[in-house]
């Protein structure tokens, strides 16, 4: 159950078959909820945002290319963006507007990439790779990933020069790519 299943699932979403939404939820609902909950840390809010995420996928499925697109990664990107958008608006940090998310979650970007996001072996590899980062590298990835901080916000929060923060982000992503890229084609 992976590439081919997702391709067919995407086609059914495009045909607006309600059962496709059920299958999409059964496949990705738990992971989507977990990703959002890790960011917003409130189960009620997480439920609302999961609902919004699936509605967005449903509404935008027409722009998706089933043969080439990676359905799981696209859905997860939308999920994370909804969660970050939420915590930023709650904290009144709205300098980056939702337009930016719209660009970064456009289905056309989610083609020709690793599609498998549900593999437990991958989960282990990812956790191991994160554990290998230095404390500073891990910190900036977590602040970006779970709190949606920009690099200058991180610099302020951590009391470090912006250039240092940028270096940590870049080197952390580089190391993650080296470790994770061997197992998944990221």
């Amino acid at each position: 159950m992976s590439g081919q299943y997702d391709e067919e699932l995407a086609r059914r979403l495009q045909r607006r078959e309600p059962q496709a939404m059920a299958d999409l939820y059964d496949r990705f609902g738990r992971l989507t909820y977990s990703v959002i909950l890790a960011i917003v840390r409130d189960s009620g809010v997480a439920e609302d945002l999961v609902q919004e995420t699936f509605l967005r996928v449903w509404n935008r499925a027409q722009a998706f290319e089933p043969g080439k697109g990676a359905l799981g990664p696209w859905l997860l990107a939308i999920a994370r963006n909804r969660a970050i958008d939420y915590i930023r608006s709650v904290q009144s940090r709205m300098d980056r507007n939702s337009y930016e998310f719209d660009v970064r979650e456009h289905p056309s970007l989610f083609v020709d990439m690793e599609r498998e996001v549900l593999n437990t072996d991958h989960a282990r590899v990812i956790r191991a790779a994160l554990a290998k980062l230095t404390d500073n590298q891990r910190k900036v990835i977590e602040l970006a990933y779970y709190e949606g901080l920009s690099q200058s916000e991180m610099a302020e929060r951590l009391g470090q020069p912006l250039g240092t923060v940028k270096t940590w982000v870049r080197s952390a992503l580089q190391l993650l790519r080296e470790d994770i890229g061997q197992v998944v084609s990221a």
């Binding site: 939404m21 909820y33 909950l37 699936f54 509605l55 709205m94 980056r96 989610f110 020709d112 690099q151």
Partner: protein, 229 residues
């Protein structure tokens, strides 16, 4: 900046951590479908998304599946609508009403549900929640510039006889546009749908007015919500 210089930003962009002032150039550049940068950003997005797979898995509550499915097929869900969440609650409330009421009213409700869905299903629709500890009326409003407005609320204040709630959309020029009046149900909830194109508002508001409605608010609106751009 050249592609080589922009390359430095792929990762931070995919992670969403570039400052707005920095991300503009890359974003515009990506819109030119650059053969170097688009695949590069894809790779970075792929890595960032794969990181999501490392998150500790938690089981969502069972009702969440029903909520998600009700988005595309509201009829299948039965139960207490208000427990099921905001955007959906209204639609369900209409559906549940439809079970126990005369055929004429049922047809009206079904029509209202279809109108509401046409707004909710518009990809261009914006929505905003309202309600705080100090302002107990809570709910959500959806605005589609081409389809109309859906307003859903609970804990609405009690009205004197001869008064009604009036919904306003406030465009950038600041002058409220009346969007019609409505009453709350016995349980202080309301679902109000106004169909038709409208000027994109920067905010929506609700005030208490005489039953026939007013051309401009005559009382201070008790709900005012900004709509994100």
């Amino acid at each position: 900046m050249s592609c080589e210089e922009l390359q430095e930003q792929y990762g931070a962009y995919a992670l969403g951590t570039l400052d707005r002032s920095e991300s503009g150039e890359l974003r515009e550049h990506l819109e030119t479908n650059c053969a170097n940068c688009v695949p590069g950003v894809r790779k970075a997005l792929s890595l960032v998304t794969v990181l999501s797979g490392g998150v500790e898995l938690k089981d969502p509550p069972k009702r969440l599946r029903k909520r998600v499915l009700a988005l595309v097929n509201p009829v299948v869900v039965k139960g207490n609508a208000w427990q099921l969440g905001w955007s959906l609650a209204a639609l369900l409330a209409i559906m549940l009403l439809a079970v126990a009421i005369p055929a004429k009213k049922q047809a009206e409700d079904t029509a209202r549900l279809e109108q509401a869905l046409s707004v909710l299903n518009d990809p261009a629709a914006k929505d905003v929640s309202f309600g705080t500890a100090e302002k107990p009326a809570r709910g959500r409003v959806f605005v589609s510039p081409t389809k109309g407005v859906v307003f859903i609320a609970a804990n609405l204040p009690k009205l004197d006889k001869g008064r009604a709630f009036e919904l306003w959309t406030i465009p950038a020029n600041g002058k409220p546009v009346p969007q019609g009046t409505f009453q709350a149900e016995a349980d202080a909830t309301a679902v109000y749908v106004r169909q038709g194109a409208l000027e994109q508002p920067v905010a929506v508001a609700v005030s208490v007015e005489p039953e026939g409605g007013s051309a401009q608010p005559t009382t201070t609106p008790f709900i005012v919500s900004k709509i994100g751009s």
